[in-house]
């Protein structure tokens, strides 16, 4: 029956109106994926965060709901890890921007176009290797009896074996390395799309290099900068692999703390509360910086408008 019906419809003449699926059906697979693997788990986490750990061998119970886990998460011991994480992620994101911007600019503007693809490809090469493996690569490199330590001691820069592993500095280094490409790509795309004619026009109108950069290049690259900042800041703040591998006891990050609540302490309620706080912390930080950015932009625009309107022509 169904076959015949289908056949009839498919074979129907041009005069018959064709039945179409609604347009949003194109997005159904993505929506399903998001709902199943993002929305539901996040809601579960939020739900669990109000629960508690009933006994040593069971992970979660939600028959009594309370905010107690949030109170625990904000205890002084855990609060220090939260502030430490924020420090690492803000410094890390800033460093990524400072390192990636000149590189992306050079790649998009200065490098002959025939080399560009190759160089961009080379920045992707680290992504061919697993994140964990790359981080373990640093672990080997930074070991007290590892290659870097040996070289630094040989050339006399260090009197003792390198002692950077299991410190916050190692984590800082690791996250900058791990997330740098995520900053380079959007910056490169933004800068690559910039019409060179705009810079030339700026020069012709008498702007020096710095002014051209500040008033032409940078504002036009802003979407790339913002995309890069978000792409780096958000996963970096929740990262736990880098902290676990390179940080030891000193370089603890919230992500590692959440993971240890789930995996080792088996306290899913406390882990969930910490995860929710982490999410709020990330959104809050992004919101604060977005507000600052908007404020700065408003100020800049206002100052410029005054200049233009105020000058009698």
């Amino acid at each position: 029956m169904a076959e015949a019906a289908t056949g009839a419809r498919v074979g129907g003449g041009p005069g018959r109106p064709r039945r179409r699926l609604p347009r949003f059906s194109l997005a159904i697979p993505a929506w399903l994926l998001f709902i199943l693997f993002f929305a539901i788990p996040v809601l579960l986490i939020v739900w669990y965060s109000f629960g508690y750990k009933p006994d040593i061998f069971r992970t979660i119970s939600t028959d009594q709901l309370s905010f107690d886990r949030y109170a625990e998460s904000f205890s002084s011991t855990f609060r220090s890890v939260f502030t430490g994480t924020l420090q690492i992620s803000i410094i890390g994101t800033t460093l990524c921007l400072l390192i990636a911007f000149p590189f992306a600019y050079w790649l998009a503007v200065k490098v002959p176009s025939r080399w560009r693809g190759l160089l961009l490809g080379l920045t992707i090469v680290p992504f061919w290797t697993n994140f964990l493996v790359r981080t373990i690569g640093w672990l080997i490199l930074l070991q007290p009896n590892g290659p870097l330590s040996g070289i630094l001691q040989d050339v006399g820069l260090l009197a003792h074996p390198l002692d950077v592993l299991d410190t916050r500095a190692a984590v800082q280094l690791g996250v900058v390395y791990n997330y740098l490409p995520l900053m380079i790509f959007p910056l490169f795309v933004a800068l690559d799309r910039l019409d060179p004619a705009l810079r030339e026009a700026s020069k012709d109108l008498g702007a020096n290099r710095w002014r051209t950069f500040r008033q032409v290049t940078l504002p036009l690259a802003m979407p790339g900068v913002i995309a890069g900042l978000l792409l780096v800041f958000i996963p970096l703040t929740g990262d736990y692999i880098t902290a676990t591998v390179l940080g030891g006891a000193k370089g603890n990050m919230v992500g590692a703390l959440v993971a240890s609540q789930f995996n080792t302490a088996q306290n899913w309620a406390l882990g969930s509360a910490m995860a929710v706080i982490l999410i709020i912390m990330i959104l809050g930080t992004v919101a604060v910086f977005a507000l600052i950015g908007l404020g700065v932009r408003a100020l800049v625009r206002r100052s410029r408008r005054v200049e233009l309107v105020g000058q009698p022509v």
């Binding site: 289908t6 040593i56 061998f57 220090s80 890890v81 299991d166 006891a249 603890n252 240890s260 302490a265």
Partner: protein, 396 residues
């Protein structure tokens, strides 16, 4: 029909593509999805009924050895060669997943309610009563393990598993410390010395074991308190010391620090004897390092082969336990992990074979006198909490 196909790019011949309409495709996917969910449901049922069938005496575990054996294991705890030999002999592939603490293993088994897919787990003895109470273990059929007679009677029939109904001794060991003489000038004779050095010379270069009981045990033993205490004042004092005093000096919570220490990562490590020994075996200058057994009191732990509730490969699991209790296999495994396997005569064989650092593997009666197996009691939740807070405090 052709207009239906316009704009559709498909990796099929034109003729075949014409036969595939969108509706066919969607119907096909729906069938595929439905049938896979039925399959999944069937699998679920299968594991549950399989779970009910295992355990108990008779001929359990004596049947044909299954082609697969799944371990839920501690890291680096058996010689990879032993696994290979077993695979060759029985035509069974072995797969290992690891856990870092008994708490983790138990919680995962508990959460999966008999469908974990693991066959063997290796809990520390004191955790076994709770695991039995939570119905996480199958009974072991000792008739299927003729080599059980090789297990020294000293290590059979323990308090936590009378009659070896659920477990067979894998090996046992203790806890102490190992330090680098070139970095630590003072000598360490007991836990108080250990803590003094950790706070002093080895501050920021000390590692401690990453389990709640071991971490808090240091303080209890240093202060002559039974490490099974449930006294609130003792627990508070322990938390205060560990979190506020010790934690800031800790470089890492590392359950396997032996090799890392000899690679220069730590100056002082809190370590299990076999792991400390692996460190000494891996270095060219073992004289640089000093091993000490915990004093005045230290831990005695015994890890045991147990069959997981709902295990699918019960015969292979019994075959493995029988295999590993063979004196020659046991000796080979001991050479790798460095813990006393409790097999009769293994000490003499190890001595005859000239294994190094045997004082770190076998302990004399006077030493065993100072060891305390402890217990898992209602303070355990509190110990986990202290351990958690300590880890957070170290990062501050």
């Amino acid at each position: 029909m052709t207009d239906e196909l316009e704009g559709v790019n498909i990796l099929a011949s034109r003729a075949a593509a014409q036969r595939i309409t969108r509706r066919h495709f969607l119907a096909g996917s729906a069938v595929a999805m439905f049938s896979s969910s039925v399959l999944l449901a069937a699998c679920g049922e299968d594991t549950q009924t399989g779970g009910g069938g295992g355990g108990g005496g008779g001929d359990v575990g004596t049947g044909e050895v299954e082609p697969q054996l799944n371990f839920f294991h501690w890291a680096e705890y058996d010689d990879p060669e032993v696994f290979k030999d077993f695979e060759k002999e029985f035509g069974t592939t072995t797969k290992i997943d690891i856990y870092a603490s008994n708490e983790e293993a138990i919680a995962k088994l508990e959460a999966s309610a008999g469908t974990s897919g693991y066959d063997l787990v290796i809990p520390t003895g004191v955790y076994i009563p709770q695991m039995v109470a939570l119905d996480l273990l199958e009974e072991i059929n000792l008739d299927a393990i003729p080599n059980f007679e090789n297990v020294d009677p000293l290590y059979r029939d323990q308090d936590w598993d009378p009659g070896n109904k659920h477990s067979v001794c894998k090996d046992w060991g203790s806890t102490g410390w190992i330090y680098d003489k070139t970095l630590v000038s003072s000598e360490i004779h007991d836990w108080n010395d250990f803590l003094a050095v950790a706070e002093g010379e080895a501050s920021g270069k000390t590692s401690v074991l990453d389990t709640p009981g071991n971490l808090t045990g240091i303080w209890f033993w240093a202060n002559n308190i039974d490490w099974t205490t449930t006294n609130e004042d003792d627990l508070n004092a322990c938390e205060d010391y560990i979190v506020n005093t010790l934690a800031p000096h800790v470089k890492a919570y590392d359950s396997y620090p032996g090799i890392a220490l000899t690679e220069g990562k730590y100056a002082l490590s809190h370590a299990w004897n076999g792991d400390a020994r692996q460190g000494l075996l891996s270095t060219d200058e073992p004289d640089r390092y000093v091993w000490g057994l915990g004093a005045p009191v230290t831990e005695l732990w015994m890890d045991n082969w147990c069959i997981v509730k709902g295990a699918q490969n019960v015969n292979a699991a019994h075959a493995w336990i029988n295999y590993i209790c063979d004196p020659q296999v046991s000796l080979k495994d001991l050479a790798y992990h460095g813990y006393n396997t409790g097999i009769t005569g293994v000490q003499e064989e190890a001595e005859a074979a000239g294994f190094e650092f045997l004082d770190m593997v076998f302990f004399d009666d006077a030493q065993v006198e100072t060891m305390d197996a402890g217990a898992v009691n209602e303070a355990q939740g509190r110990l986990v909490e202290i351990w958690n807070k300590a880890k957070a405090a170290s990062g501050a």
